[in-house]
Symmetry: C2
Subunit: 304 residues, 2 copies
């Protein structure tokens, strides 16, 4: 067996107010880092790099200590925690942002503690690409660098996004972002094109429709989503997917194409739990056994 490696994850911590057809929650703990560390910590040690305000209810993160999540890199700064409010339509693939208050996140300057620097697996969740670069430059010797972004950065600081894409091993974007990045309507055509620009792997997330993995050797993996009959809140599904995927890679320390496929299936299975309840609720009680059981169920649903 290969040795379990550590993950460093940088991104946002937020207080989310969420309206879905199934209810509303206010100031729920959210942000990419909450989902990534909640699920990632089930697979491998996770070093968190993020910032919160002094209003952040830190006891909500108590459950992360049992999951091998190292919060030394979670800076607490005088001011307000990043707040986001969103409203989902009847078709929950569509959501409107009602408000965004950056708070202390606006001046976030990621500083990595030693353990975070030495991790072999780095997940750069969606923050400004200049900050992602700062983080990458602090890393000692990462084996795999995964990168997420958003339409805002592609629209406003495209050159910096491209620079990052040229430096990372794995790009994880959604179907809108791959079209924005490449001008291709087809996720497959876009991913194949992007994989020629530097990264070894490109993953395109398609929400309830699953995800696509393309290698820079032209190989393709189609990963359907684990179907959820009664989703309540899609918030954080993509971050849960990425968090489980990277932490599974770190746990197995194998970044070959076949293990990437397995990692993606763990990602979609983990995400299927996340959407079953609001915010982090379902992930808080989630166990590795439940994930493994659903992984086996998933396999039985795709065999032919």
């Amino acid at each position: 067996m290969s040795q379990v490696q550590q993950v460093t994850a940088v991104g946002s911590v937020a207080l989310d107010t969420l309206d879905t057809p199934f209810g509303r929650v206010e100031d729920a703990i959210g942000g990419s880092i909450s989902y990534i560390s909640a699920v990632g910590g089930l697979f491998a040690p996770v070093n968190v790099v993020a910032v919160v305000g002094d209003d952040f209810p830190m006891d909500e993160y108590d459950f992360l200590h049992d999951r091998n999540v190292n919060l030394d890199g979670l800076e607490v700064k005088a001011g307000d925690t990043f707040r986001w409010e969103g409203r989902y339509h009847e078709d929950m693939n569509i959501r409107d942002t009602i408000s965004t208050e950056l708070g202390v996140f606006e001046d976030f300057q990621p500083r990595l503690p030693l353990a975070a620097r030495e991790a072999r697996y780095l997940l750069l969740a969606n923050i400004h690409p200049a900050l992602q670069l700062q983080v990458l430059e602090q890393m000692t010797d990462p084996r795999l660098v995964a990168f997420d972004t958003m339409n805002l950065w592609i629209d406003t600081v495209r050159d910096q996004v491209d620079k990052m894409i040229g430096k990372v091993d794995l790009v994880i974007v959604n179907d809108e972002e791959i079209t924005l990045l490449t001008g291709r309507q087809s996720s497959l055509a876009g991913a194949l094109e992007l994989a020629k620009t530097g990264p070894r792997y490109v993953v395109v997330k398609k929400g309830e429709h699953g995800a696509l993995l393309v290698g820079n050797d032209g190989s393709i993996f189609i990963c359907p989503a684990f179907p959820v009959a009664h989703p309540k809140d899609p918030t954080g599904a993509g971050d849960t997917f990425a968090g489980a995927m990277i932490a599974y890679l770190a746990a197995t320390d194998d970044i070959g194409m076949f293990n990437l496929r397995r990692a993606m299936v763990y990602g979609t299975v983990a995400a299927s739990f996340a959407v079953e309840d609001f915010g982090l609720n379902r992930l808080k009680s989630l166990t590795v056994n439940e994930i493994e059981e659903r992984f086996r169920l998933f396999r039985s649903m795709v065999e032919f």
Copy 2:
């Protein structure tokens, strides 16, 4: 080996004018029956039941004779062939109907020749449910009856749609239709519900996102779509899927869950060819070997 069975397919033959981001064709041979018989005939003998006007360029169907397609049930009536004009958006999942002229299709009264009546596999493509019932009542002893419909009939003659659903073995609808039929946003929840009302199997087609199969025993199969980097025209993809699926079932004469899964994969593989060119163009030159090759490629793309 089980004996190859015959398929009877009833539906529309149309002359389609199609606008996609990749070009325009006028009066292309289309309608569900054209796609179903073009691909179905590669797997099993297909008996066509449909109507065309005396303006129909029958030589366009010459290639069907080589595919074991029996056109005895294709009625030629004085008047105009059904014409449909559609325009696809940049995102080809969205299309607008520009015009529909029913022509001789308006008074279609399906009459089945003897061979058509005796087929063991019946595919009721999308026509008025009262006509579907007329066809079903003419069949001698069908082993599997598959049924498609559309939002128009669900909205206007819902009771007749429900009556048909209660009589068939396999319902094939798309994601909008399953929501319309069951009120469920989730295709999975809708399919599970519909499968309790009579049919042994429910298939939900999701276009480029693949399809879902649910059995009335609660079993689930997720079938991703074979990814197409450069689709040109999605017209007929759903009918090609259904035609290949039912004809594969007839060819193998096995309607168990596992063979249904394989049949769906043949369906998605066949549909991936259909969308590569306008109208029937790609299907006209398609061979069984090409389908088998892409079937193997598909398997390699979903393994983990």
